[in-house]
Subunit: 221 residues, 2 copies
Amino acid sequence: MTARTSNDTAREIPEATVARLPVYLRALSTLSEAGTTVCSSEDLAAAAGVNSAKLRKDLSYLGSYGTRGVGYDVDYLRYQIAREMGATRDWPVVIVGIGNLGHALANYSGFRSRGFRVVALLDADGQRHGEVVAGVVVRAFDDLRSIVREHGVAIGVIATPAAAAQDVADQMVDAGITSILNFAPTVLSVGPHVAVSKVDLSKELQVLAYHEQRKATQEPA
Amino acid sequence: MTARTSNDTAREIPEATVARLPVYLRALSTLSEAGTTVCSSEDLAAAAGVNSAKLRKDLSYLGSYGTRGVGYDVDYLRYQIAREMGATRDWPVVIVGIGNLGHALANYSGFRSRGFRVVALLDADGQRHGEVVAGVVVRAFDDLRSIVREHGVAIGVIATPAAAAQDVADQMVDAGITSILNFAPTVLSVGPHVAVSKVDLSKELQVLAYHEQRKATQEPA
DNA sequence: GTGATTTTGTTCTCCTGTTCACAAACTCCT
DNA sequence: AGGAGTTTGTGAACAGGAGAACAAAATCAC
C-alpha cells in the first residue's frame, strides 16, 4: 500500500499560492456551471487569468489531482481545493458595523456560497437594533461575547468607521475571535496569535491612478 | 546648480512599493491629524504596520525627503507621496452597478478625500434611474459614452453582478476608459492597454478560513 | 502492442522583493 | 568647535515566487 496523497505531514503551501486558490475555485465553479466536466491547465489558467505553468505548480502543492494527457476533472478538483481551503466546512461569521458597507457584506451571496454563514450583525448605534438585514436581526455590540461563545465564531468582520475599529478588534479578540477581516481604513494592532487581513477599498483605485498618471506623463507626445 | 530631486528620468518604482504608498499616505494623514509634525521611519512604519527598513527603502525610490538624525516632516512627506501617486489631482470616476456595494462605494468618503470624484452612477435597471445616491443621480448605462467624453473619465468602477461585468467592461473600454476597478467576482478580459484591478470581497475571508483550518488541524493536542 | 500525441508534475534558472547592517549626515550638548 | 547620539539612505546578502523547459505518464490510432 503506497502512501497515496494522504496528508499527514504539514505540506507547506506558499502564501502566494493560497491567495490564488480562491480564484481557481471560482473559475472551476464557473466551468462546472457551464457543463464542463474536464479541463486542461491551459483552460483553467485562462478562466482564472493566470499563467498555466503557475497554475500547475500551485496545484502540485495540493497533490496530484490531474491526469497526464487528459487534464483535470472539474468537480473533483473543485472539491479537493475546497476541502484544502476549508470551504467544505461551515464558518460562522460576525459582522460589526452595519453601515453601507456592512449592508453590502451581509447581503453578499459570495460569502454564503463559500461556506461562510453570517450568524450575527452588530452595531453600536441603538437606532439600528432590531432592523433586519439579509434575514438577520441587527443586535447590540455588547452581545458579541455571548454570540461568539454560542456559535463558536472564529472569524469576525469589521465594517465600522476607522475610529471604532481598534476597539472592536480588541473586544473581538477578547471574546475569542482569532481571525479578523478589516474593512476599516486603519491598521489594527492585535496579539501574535490573531490573524488580521485588510481590504482597502480605495487602495486599488489609488494604484490605478498612479499608473494612469505615469502613462500621461510618460508619453507627452 | 545640481539636479536636485527633480524627476525627469522615469524612476522605476517597484510594484510592491506602489501598493504600499497608499498605506503610508493614510498613516501620514492620521499622524498629521493627531498634530504630529515630524516622525521617524520607526514611527511611521509602526503606524503603517510595516518594517521600518522596508519603509525607508520604499521612500528612497521617491527621493530623499527625510533628514538624517531627525526624521520626516509629516506634511511635506505626505504631499510628496500624494503628488507621486497622483492624489493631488482630481480623478473623475464612474461607478456602474448601484446595488448594495455600489451604494457603499458611492458613499465611501475615502474616495473623495483621495482625489476621486464620482461624476456618475449608472445602472442597467430602469427602476433605479433618477434615484439620488450620495448626491449623484443614477442614470442609464447607455449614457456612459457621453459622460466619459464630457468629464474626461479615465477610471471606471464595476460593482455589477458577475454576469454583467464583462459586457460593462467592454463598453467602458469602448467609451475610452483605460483603468477599471472590478468588484464583480469574475475575470475580465480586456486589451493590453487597459489596466484592470480586482477586489474580491470573499477572497480574503477564504484565506483566513484556510489558516484557521490549518491551526485547528495542526494542533490537535 | 507500438508509436504518436497530449498534458501533467517538477526541476532549474531568473528576477523581484525583503531584511540586515552600516556609512553618511544631521542635531544637541558642552 | 568638537564629540556623542540619532536617524536616514543604501549596498549587499538572502528568501521567495515566476516562468521556461522538459521528463513522466496517460490516451488514441492502427
